[in-house]
């Protein structure tokens, strides 16, 4: 099965744990971060294939983290899947959020997460 590496970033530790356990059960390697700053710090040392990224987080929000990932030569190829409860703000996978700023996320999953749907999206992007 897959040896792919995924980072889960959300300020809800219970959600991080639930998603991580699901990913680990599918043989993915998982790293965890609980806010945007921590995610960016970890991305300096680790290069996941895919980041599951919450939008509303303390210290640095998901929009900013996504921009930083996608505008950095070293990390721009990491697939970013946003988690958001503000589904209305999302029109497409390269969408415009409330600030009128285009993000470069590759996909999104509305909250509350349908875990099977999330796994499908992960598999689609990683070809697992």
């Amino acid at each position: 099965m897959s040896e792919k590496f995924i980072m889960v970033v959300d300020d809800d530790p219970d959600l991080v744990e639930a998603v991580s356990m699901k990913l680990e059960s599918k043989q993915f390697r998982v790293a965890k971060a609980y806010d945007g700053e921590e995610a960016m710090e970890k991305l300096k040392g680790e290069k996941p294939d895919l980041v599951i990224l919450d939008v509303m987080m303390p210290r640095k929000n998901g929009w900013v983290v996504c921009d930083e990932i996608k505008n950095n030569e070293a990390t721009k190829n990491i697939v970013v899947v946003m988690l958001t409860a503000v589904g209305d703000a999302v029109q497409s996978t390269s969408y415009t959020h409330h600030d009128g700023k285009t993000t470069l996320a590759d996909d999104y999953v509305p909250k509350p997460i349908d875990m099977d749907k999330l796994m499908e999206i992960v598999d689609d992007h990683l070809g697992a």
Partner: protein, 320 residues
Amino acid sequence: MSGRFARLYQEVDASVNQESVYLYQKLAADRINIVFLSLDFLRTPRQITCMVAPGAAPAAAGQDHDQGAAGLVSLFPHRFDPAAMAVVFSALGQKQIPWYAMASSGSMVTVVTDFAVQQQAAEALAEYVQLSPGHGPLRVQQDYDDIARRLKSAPETVAQYVEARIRTYGIAVKTGLKLCRIDFHSHEQVLLGRALEGLAADKAGFAYISANRAAEGQGHLAVALDPGQTPAHAPDIADHLSPALCSSRLEIRENVEMLCFHGPHFGDRYGIADKALGCLINAGIPVLLAGCVGATVSIIVPPGMAEPGVEALSTTFDRP
């Protein structure tokens, strides 16, 4: 570490006053969010600790309930390892840092301390654990940035407050749990920490923990152990705890059950605890313990009551 909250505490002697309005009910009626709840109905008096926004406290509960400024310190992920409890008891007991309540979620152990010693409590815990690189700062949590704050107050939260059925990530049930309730005095905390380390060394797993400290140094810890996560050959919890706490009382109930669920932004929304507990109580299902930590609600019920509990909760909470 959380920001500053008000700690509210209520004791109810249900044998005397059966018409009591519980604190979580009052707060829900006043549309006040509970960011942390630890409820213990195992004995009389029944005890409830809630944390709410500071300005909300007097209007919601009356000055007699308001115990002053407090903060939350959370340790995660606990992976259901009693070592997380051991750290809390050992670290805070060693440094004699006062705390008032504790409860767990699916990944966190959260402790209520005075706001004035919150930083000290976080640093004491940090001495016992290995923090990951880039971890959140050991200081009072700052508010979300402008964009996040605006989003949180605009479509998302408002929309979810009015949803007819509250969305969840699913309702989990654990059965066959062994519930241990231990009375202790504050000077026994370090001993209790060591006993819990023994439990961790045996690779026992817990499903839920909660603790409350009442007046004059008295406190109690309730641990729902998950036999499914504990090796069959492991010594009984009583073997660990009784020698350490010979002066204390240990009560064990077999085969209790747990309902556990979490949903988006539950920690930011009022009325979740009231709805959950109301569903069960209206269905005649006794609640032994309950906790709201982060976005998770955990409820311990007597043997055989979890499945009816799921049915009762399903009248109000949506299951994917």
